[in-house]
Amino acid sequence: MTSALAFDLALAALVLAIATLTIAAREAMSAVISFIAYGLLLSLAWVRLRAPDVALTEAAIGAGVTGLLLLGAAATIGDRQAGAAPPLALMLAAGLACALVASGLAATTLVLLPEPAPTLAPPAMASLATTGLGNPVTAVLFVYRALDTLLEKVVLVLALLGVWSLAPDRVWGGVARLGPDAPPRAMLVFLAQLLPPVGMVIAIYMFWTGADHPGGAFQGGAILAAMWLIVLTARLADMPATSHPGLRLLVLAGPMLFAAIGFAGWALADAFLAYPEGYAKPLIILAEAGLTLSIAATLACLVAGPATRTPPP
């Protein structure tokens, strides 16, 4: 057990060190790069906390897609007009306050939490058989607390609408710009041809395995989004215009399918977001399939940002 403990200690120290580097970095670009390394390492911590589902999500969304988003912003903005740093006294006061908050939270979690810890694992596992699923996390996301997941999908669509709405009026419905204007390097193009097929296989595997093993729509969707973004960066394909009906359908199909399944449950299984007996697993996989595609499209569009060019005729 001690070797595991030592490992955890080293991991926590590393995560904290990278986080400190991220906060203290002088340039925005350095901060973003260390943030990506931080996200990749944090997934190790999630593995140690017996949360492989979260590890996958953190790596794919926390580090991957968020990382690309922040990199793009840092490359555009740089460090110009950053404004003056607050005076030293204020920094010290803020540091003291934050240290207090951190130690208070540490004390709370270390001392005040009850033993034995309350848990919902037994009821979650007991009902797992009726859902036909093997992965309890998927069961929570798509059966027990499906309303959260459905509303969260609406949040994602809403965020995309919010991002799109920042396009100036004259380019509304136009095309978002991604990556540099310069033609991509041959090597990049080669990688963009090689990696996406592999990534797509992994994404489909993630989505498919999610019913019974860690993985699922979020992780699969995030990988697909990452692959699409590589293809876009290498100019192998163009971003569709934000007014493109197909793109809007792709973004909305998953949430609407999920809502439709929810209403079907109301009609056929006595409750909104309930599944008819015996059909739970196929219906969930159907919903997840739609959501995987929609999540992929939404995440990629969120990274690409609002339209910057007028729509093609």
């Binding site: 390097r185 090597m187 990049l188 080669f190 990688l191 090689l194 990696l195 592999v198």
Partner: protein, 93 residues
């Protein structure tokens, strides 16, 4: 038999770890970026290969073994291309 397998694992994983260590020492000691790039990718890919080799006898199913090999191949190929890419970018600058 099982001791022999265990020995293979221990030796391969240890060797792999040493390659990683060597890569990191290279990172710290080498003077310029291209050298460091060399040190990093060569050593890490070889190290990872040895670790995967050492772990293969320990996994339970063929599928897991295949997955391990796939992971290594993925790192190897993408690493090679990315290294080229980084080198090209830094030369260009």
């Amino acid at each position: 038999m099982s001791t022999a397998i265990a020995l293979v694992t221990v030796v391969a994983v240890s060797a792999g770890s040493i390659f990683f260590l060597a890569g990191t020492i290279g990172l710290i000691r080498f003077p310029d970026a291209p050298c460091r790039l060399h040190a990093l990718t060569k050593a890490d890919n070889l190290g990872l290969g040895l670790i995967v080799l050492g772990l293969l006898p320990q996994v339970g199913t063929l599928a897991e073994a295949l997955k391990l090999v796939c992971i290594w191949l993925l790192v190897l190929f993408s690493g090679a291309i990315v290294t080229q890419l980084i080198a090209a970018t830094s030369r260009h600058k």
